[in-house]
Amino acid sequence: MADEVVLLDFWPSPFGMRVRIALAEKGIKYEYREEDLKNKSPLLLQMNPVHKKIPVLIHKGKPICESLIAVQYIDEVWSDTNPLLPSHPYQRAQARFWADYVDKKIYDLGGKIWQTKGEEKEAAKKEFTEALKLLEEELGDKAYFGGDNLGFLDIAFVPFYTWFRGYEPFGILNIESECPKFIAWANRCLQKESVAKSVPDQDKIHEFIVDIRKKLGIE
């Protein structure tokens, strides 16, 4: 029943996108609720009192916070279709390790790139490219990090690609030449219906970034 699953989210959030993709992969019907982060709903504050952040997955009235934890929960509850995590413990641990790496490196560095200037920005760009190359190595010759199908790490990582594409018009980042494998992988993921319908229009993300840069006084 659709009203059994609710997702509190914010449309440009890459973390929210992860949960949307997981739900779509499993074919789960749910109610999507847009949050205004400047005016958080009582429901959000009640469901995530510790961090007050989105996304929050609510299943049968109970909240699951933190995007990667929600994705694992979805995989464990709806375990009969499209497994998102590998079945072998070591491979599962590897997937978790790299998803944690994406959280620690990609998100923070990405933010530094389009929010800072000069030396700090150049240093962030260098570290970021190195991180992408490491992830490319982890991908190897596979179609997806999950092998033949979309898996946990693909879901953890691909939402950030929509943001990188958003930085490109600013000439901030040119990863096409340095990380072609990554670009190919991301485009492959975007061909999947579950991903395509879970990520916003490129133009909308770009507009969103333009807006924030204006507010932060970055030109």
Partner: protein, 219 residues
């Protein structure tokens, strides 16, 4: 075929709570292992080989397969050796356990650490945040004996810093953070934790830990 336990190695640092989490998990499961102490100022070839990404401890090496990141390792240990489960069976309870383990690392531990090492200027605010963090953690405990219920679980292990290190660090810093008056339930938990028969043998000796951090404080 060699038994599961025949080739388990831990590269660690005796004073590190992150490294200690892995010791505790292995001991709770009764898994024999070889321990190597790493000198972080002079990293061994093995450490650089087994954790090229972060070059940190702890790293678990099982049958030649390396795995870094303490919480990823503890889940792997739980999935590989099925006795004395560290995570609950129910997916929602599992998601909650993961949430608290992550919140400990992302929010609670840094708040306590900052308070203990803060200078005069930032002290008041840091202490306030540390006390808020402990309050949140105590609420999560509710009326349970351990975070894992009747037995030690993932969250208890993740909270080893709170259960054992905090008492030492707050004494050195001259602060009163985790006290029986301020947090009676959490304080009681810390006593149960540190006196648990398996945990007790797995924690580093108090005097040596005190001396180690006292020396760091002087620098």
């Amino acid at each position: 075929m060699a038994s599961e336990s025949s080739e388990v190695r831990l590269l660690g640092k005796w004073a590190s709570p992150f490294s200690n989490r892995v010791d505790l998990a292995l001991k709770l499961k009764g898994v024999p292992y070889k321990y190597s102490e790493e000198d972080l100022a002079n990293k061994s070839e093995d450490l650089l080989k087994y954790n090229p990404v972060h070059k940190k401890v702890p790293v678990l090496v099982h049958n030649g397969n390396p795995l870094p990141e303490s919480l990823v390792i503890v889940e792997y240990i739980d999935e590989t050796w099925k006795n004395n489960p560290l995570l609950p069976q129910d997916p929602y309870e599992r998601a909650l356990a993961r949430f608290w383990a992550k919140t400990l690392d992302d929010k609670i531990l840094p708040a306590i650490w900052n308070a203990c090492w803060s200078d005069e200027k930032g002290r008041e605010k840091a202490v306030e945040e540390a006390l808020e963090a402990l309050e949140i953690l105590q609420e999560a405990l509710k009326e349970k004996r351990f975070f894992g219920g009747e037995n030690i679980g993932l969250v208890d292990i993740a909270a080893n810093f709170i259960g054992y290190w905090v008492a030492i660090l707050q004494e050195i810093a001259g602060l009163e953070l985790l006290t029986i008056e301020k947090f009676p339930k959490l304080y009681k938990w810390s006593q149960e934790f540190a006196n648990h028969p398996v945990i007790k043998d797995g924690l580093p000796p108090r005097d040596e830990l005190f001396a180690f951090f006292k020396a760091s404080a002087k620098k």
